[in-house]
Amino acid sequence: MVLITPDMEQKISFKLNGKTTVITTDPNQTLLWVLRNQLGLTGTKYGCGTGFCGSCTVLVNKEATRSCMLPVTDVEGKEVITIEGLGKGSRLHPLQQAFIDNDALQCGFCTPGMIMTAAAMLLKNPSVSREDIVKGLDENLCRCGAHPRIIDAVETAAKQMKGGK
């Protein structure tokens, strides 16, 4: 007979897209699948599960983080922002608008990860150069070949955000 020991569920509280969130969950999961399955935030994508493609990128305490590699317990007490929480209500974040304006996407699957990685970059350094953008996005993969447009979009957004300040 096989003995099944139920795993202990654990309570985790953190700030998610601006709201205090408390969940009870299997602590052996990664943030990615808790976001997608338990919290219904499917904008954060599974692309490789090993941190190589960047499509699962979210902000954890303003740092771009690969949610497929992050145990959900690690966000305890921290602030998580996903693509769904980047804009303010129905108002898009300048990066989101710039991606639309520059046609910086095709299939769109890598897009949330691109935008979240760029958002963290711009939080750290609002005066990024084109070279900085290329370097900052180099670990994010796009297969459609939207690269030139994505760089244009981030550059546009960076200029706008600086101008707005």
């Binding site: 490789c48 693509i83 639309i100 769109g108 297969r143």
Partner: protein, 716 residues
Amino acid sequence: MRKNEITDAGTGKEKSSGMKRRSFVKILGGGIFVFFQPWDLSGIKDAALPQARSLTKDYNAFLHIAPDGTVSCITGKVELGQGIITSLAQVMADDLNVPMEKVKMVMGDTDLCPYDAGTWGSLTIRQFGPAMRAATAEAKGVLLDLASAQLGVPASRLEVKDGIVYDQQSPGKKVSYGQLAKGRKLEKYLDVKPSPEDYKLFSVIGKPLKRTDSRLKVTGEAKYTGDLTLPGMVYARILRPPSHFAKLRSVDFSGAEAVEGTQVLRDGDFIAVINVNKEKADEAVVKINAEYDFSEPNVNDETCYDRMTGADSGVNVMSSGGDLEAGRKLSDKLFESEFRDPYVAHAPIETHTALARMEGDKLTVWASTQTPFGLQDALASELKMPLEKVRVIAPFVGGGFGGKIAFQQGVEAARLTILAKKPVMLVWTREEEFFYDTFHPAGVYRIKSGIDNSGMIKYWDYKVFYGGTRGSEVIYDVPNFRRSSYSQKKGAAPIHPVLTGAWRAPNANSNAFARESQIDIMAAAAGIDPLEFRLKNLKDEKMIGCLKALAEKAGYVPAKGPSGRGFGISCGTDAGTWVAMLAEVNVDKNTGQIKVVKVTCSQDMGMCVNPHGTVMQIEGCVMMGLGYTLTEETLFEGGNVKTRGFDAYEIPRFSWMPKIETVIIDKMDQPPQGGGEPAIILVGASVANAVFDATGARLYRMPMTPARVLEALKMV
């Protein structure tokens, strides 16, 4: 354009083409239907029964105006990122005078959409646009006729704004499209053969279109298959063999069953675990203890090429002219080269994914697929279910590139939902994606050629071994030539140890690499600038035009190779388009690293309907092309694919991005041709020629890894 009469669907009068009423008409209920045929139907006409089964043999898309005023375009095509979801809706809104929010695209649903063979090839707005406009004009004509009758006003006096038809003389007299469609069921059938006039009309409204799906995609709202959820849904992971040739000998599930909430499903060798918790399923599947028997073919990524050339193959002469032996004798210099090209993966960022559900005796499968109807056929046949009990829906697809023409995951999810008796979500892991991909086939390309003392090509003997022949045309004016293809003999063991299939411009990449490298080799031996050598040996005016436009755009100064500048030229044709490309590279002679600094591309694609879209497609081709050129190679031993992650199989990155310049030759008086693939065919060839120009080293094998560059440098 032949216009057909309005037929009242209520009479059930069938078209002579063998059309039968189908469920979508039932589902959509009443309204006005305009059927048309925007896509190339050749694939359907050749298809065997039951593929060519449906009523939509002749009409594979239609417009529907619903009683609530919603205007829908219904097509079995799928949105993969190529943007048809946008162009079609915008054209419809413009032509019918309805607001964009009243326009709905219904795509890739086998219950709602007429039969379509699949979304592939470079079939873009150029083909859909004119057919769509004709259908829209037809629909508008019907609506105006109906309004005229209802309002008692001649149609000539009617205007439409925001979906409301009104009398110009007394605007109070009005009726909406929705009201006109109410209580009616009208069907119209259009036979449209777009003429250049249609293209011109289309180009007038062909203003730069911003994607309508962008907002959904930048906010994370866009739903791909893996984002869907159903009550009671579980995640599945399938037990996979370590090799394509491994046979399951024994299996022990106890470890997997000990993982909380896990259920093991089995149907013969098809074994899977399911769990509500995705990562518990991941945990459980690796705890299955399975043993295998192996009968591996003795082949790997190094030996596969000799295996191809040494095999007892069937030979097909694709074309020939003149006399090869005479050509040899006329040549003062002879050349013989062998080029190699590996198995290349599609590697879309979204892995193959499917969600399956049984409700009573009806199966529904949502799948990331380029071929919803192909999957429907496969499901019906594998599960022995009637076609009408199987529905396939393709939501947004996260990249296809030909790889999602294959739909194994959809069949697997369906089998699992039947075993599990609950909805099953199957998301292939990245490892599974790289293992079960239908790779671009590896191949060997052998060329014997010769030139006379004036640098004219006299002789061209071209052989393709197992690699595919698209784009293998000679293109140059050679009096004595032959093109042969070597492939598997009937009944022989398969030469490819992995599955193979279509890729972006499948094998046109390989053929252009081989041909254009050989041309460059001959130009250098003749001591003639490679551009000049090409122009000298070409008679094709379009190709000459492309090369000249390229040289002008890039400010090319002739010099015989290797000039040390790192410039590489190539040219070719694909999807009806003529294309030429100049790559500029730096080669680090110590590390063997190639950096592509700049790519200039010229295209003669007939009328360019959307210059903005064309430039984007060229950029995409150049970026994706750098992958097969520099890094992408599937490594394997027997049936074991070793490159199963983005660490081992490297695809292009931002830091590789060269400066990209394009010139589209003005041919607005000619029908438009393909734009999605042509530029990708020349990236390998141009870079190989540029490496030679920079260093004198000739690369005969893709990808041009630093190790291979260093090896080639030793031969200089």
